[in-house]
Symmetry: C2
Subunit: 439 residues, 2 copies
């Protein structure tokens, strides 16, 4: 019986390739950078309504959100930035699932570096191009196609499927946190971020830090009378490299096998000094610290604080001028789902079935909203989606269209396994059979 259902679902997805491509193109053509998500979200809401889902649209805000310990945002409010949730209500007695995707995309950057307009949605050789097409509108469309396949095939599930199109993932997850606080919970979650169809039961968390390294100014002609904050910052960078090495030596989980550095410490920005002829007295380093799913944000922060304190033993300058560490800006919580979790099993089995190979199971090198779902919502999340992160955040971002449909098929079949089938109706949702109608 289930095999027959799965054949129907994959058949539907296969038959609606053009429809799916159009949908993705429309979504990509909506510039949904931070603060501009409204039009894209309206489009998503229309699609959900078209599927007869219960649709909930709201502007995140309020004290419960802003005072939540996991809340982080540079925005004062989310005026005009809407969250959209559509619920495919189950018939009862089954396990529920959250399908979570973010609508926000990072800025397009320098237009000149794009071959086509960043929001063109141009299709060339089986790939669609555009900002956000891989991160993560392709994944979102895979979710929508999976749900629509269920609806159109007249398959009623036992458990609820809660689709979430959230804002702010790229800036710390306030959208997903708001959805949790609005009461949306489920037994597990799937997040189709661009894993290149790998399955990520663990996600690396991360957070930003800033380190102020002091020097002492002097004229460049007698630079030996000063202390160069640039030279001292080199010692700090070196010291952080050793912390990274030490932290990563402790990680033995085979899920990180393919990651040269499972939880890297990246120095992304440096800025110091203000005059070529002066010895610089201050350098600011900004970076991202990876957080393993086996530790908390607090533990990682404490470790770095203690590590930097050891600089005093390396150079007496740091005894009197300890670098100042601050945590600022974005933060993504690490997340994980047990390897033997039922959702993992369904996902892997369907992957094998439909793709024909064993899935690659790894830990993700970046955070997703899955960390928030796990930590703040108690909802274990797995990350699996089309697209590759190599393309995310860069000019000429693209997605292999085939992968969108493959992901949609795998996810649709996984929903069937996880939520359980209550009823089927060959005629699909357009049937007038009152027994199959949605209430």
């Amino acid at each position: 019986m289930t095999e027959q259902i799965k054949k129907e679902l994959t058949g539907w997805v296969h038959a609606h390739r053009e429809y799916g491509i159009n949908l993705l193109q429309q979504l990509v053509q909506q510039d949904s950078t931070q603060g501009n998500e409204q039009d894209a979200q309206r489009l998503v809401a229309d699609i959900l309504r078209g599927m007869d889902l219960e649709v909930d649209i709201w502007e995140p805000g309020g004290e419960e959100l802003s005072r939540h310990p996991d809340f982080i945002s540079a925005r004062e409010n989310f005026k005009g930035s809407l969250n959209v949730v559509g619920v495919l209500k189950g018939q009862g007695g089954g396990r529920s699932v959250i399908l979570n995707g973010h609508i926000d995309v990072v800025p397009a950057g320098d237009r000149e570096q794009w071959a086509n307009h960043p929001f063109s949605g141009a299709i060339i050789g089986g790939r669609m191009y555009g900002r956000g097409v891989t991160d993560m509108k392709g994944g979102n469309v895979a979710l929508l196609l999976a749900m629509e396949a269920l609806q159109e095939s007249g398959i009623r599930l036992k458990g609820d499927v809660i689709f979430q199109s959230v804002i702010e993932e790229e800036s710390g997850g306030a959208g997903t946190l708001a959805a949790i606080l609005r009461g949306y919970r489920a037994d597990a979650a799937i997040i189709p971020e661009p894993t290149n169809l790998k399955i990520f039961p663990k996600q690396q968390g991360s957070m930003w830090f800033r380190i102020h390294v002091r020097g002492r100014s002097a004229h460049g002609g007698t630079r030996y009378e000063g202390v160069s904050a640039i030279e001292k910052s080199m010692l700090v960078v070196e010291h952080l490299r050793k912390l990274e090495e030490m932290r990563n030596k402790q990680i033995t989980d085979p899920l990180y096998e393919n990651a040269l550095i499972p939880v890297p410490i990246n120095i992304g920005k440096i800025e110091g000094g203000d005059w070529p002829s002066s010895v610089p007295d201050l350098v600011k380093l900004e970076g991202r610290m990876g957080v393993s799913p086996e530790e908390t944000i607090d533990e990682a922060q404490t470790e770095m604080t203690r590590w930097l304190a050891q600089l005093a033993a390396i150079d007496p300058w740091f005894k009197t001028h300890p670098p100042r560490l601050e945590w600022f800006g974005a933060r993504w919580l690490p997340g994980s789902i047990p390897l033997g979790h039922g959702l993992m099993n369904s996902l892997c089995a369907n992957f094998r079935d439909l793709i024909g190979t064993d899935p690659v199971i790894e830990a993700s090198p970046w955070g997703t909203d899955g960390g928030l779902l796990t930590t703040a919502g108690g909802i274990p999340a797995v990350v699996f989606g089309p697209g590759t992160t190599e393309m995310a955040h860069f000019p000429d971002e693209y997605i292999e269209l085939d992968h969108v449909f493959k992901a949609a098929e795998v996810i649709a079949c996984t929903l069937v396994d996880w939520c359980g089938v209550a009823q089927t109706n060959k005629a699909g949702r357009k049937s007038d059979d009152p027994e199959n109608a949605i209430h």
Copy 2:
């Protein structure tokens, strides 16, 4: 006879302490930062006219200046910024001298860091405070007092004394270059920059450089897929440190004995990366390369260019991504006067005589307009003045007032030795004796 003259000169300076302090205070109270030199220069011109000198005031400009190989300036023109020259014409048959001081001062910087207003000219415990008081209005007043002592004492010299109050020294020397091109030449020059009464027969030149270090961007979570321009820039900084070491090993002149690094390479500024979570793909280093009086600007530039090319042997990354070097902004030519030069001898002898100790003779760790006088004008220059560079360019800049008068006395007596005495007139310049009148 000369001993008697010198006694008169020092007596005059001694007797006019209050007058000199007032003069310095008035000058300091005129904010003469770049573009605002006019009021201070008018004051200087009035003083020169009061001494019955031939006064020449002009706005530097024209193609001869801007096309000169030693011209460097970020300004498009010098509108409103005047050069002032006053000539104390000799009676003939003597050696001439240029007394060169700059009127421009560097910006006051953060007002909050000053105990008093930056242009207060406040006097506390024998020190006067204010932006430019040590760099170099104190030196300029020493020159004016030296000349006035001669005039008021009725001493007529054989050689010309050409006093120059120039603009733009802090920005590459366009003011002094303009004075050279206007035809002002002499057998030697004295520049009373703040040497703390040391005598600097050699002056370090310097120039600014910028180095672009490339990396390859990647997401910070997989930073090992990228190449950090920050890490590569650390190799460049280290490599430059070795160039500095090598260059300074070659300097054996005892004049540099007290300089830990005779011609330093200072990295004053660093800037790179634009996102904490990204691997930075570009770092820009800006610095100042010291140029020894034994080499030319061109030679030093070529040495650095060749040195950077060797980075390819240290790290293959630089083979495909060589750092890009550019010379920009300010530049000060090195300068020198032979140790046995007559002006040096007079200066040292008068120093011993009046201060009572052997003068400290060193090479300066910074450039002055003396480099231009030597290179573009063929005029050997010695630097000797009150004030210390530790104070220059910093908040609460001050000068020991005693040193201004000591410098004035030494310089006045040196002028007598160098230019030679033509006539004396006890009654001073106010005498009606036509024989002693200035024509």
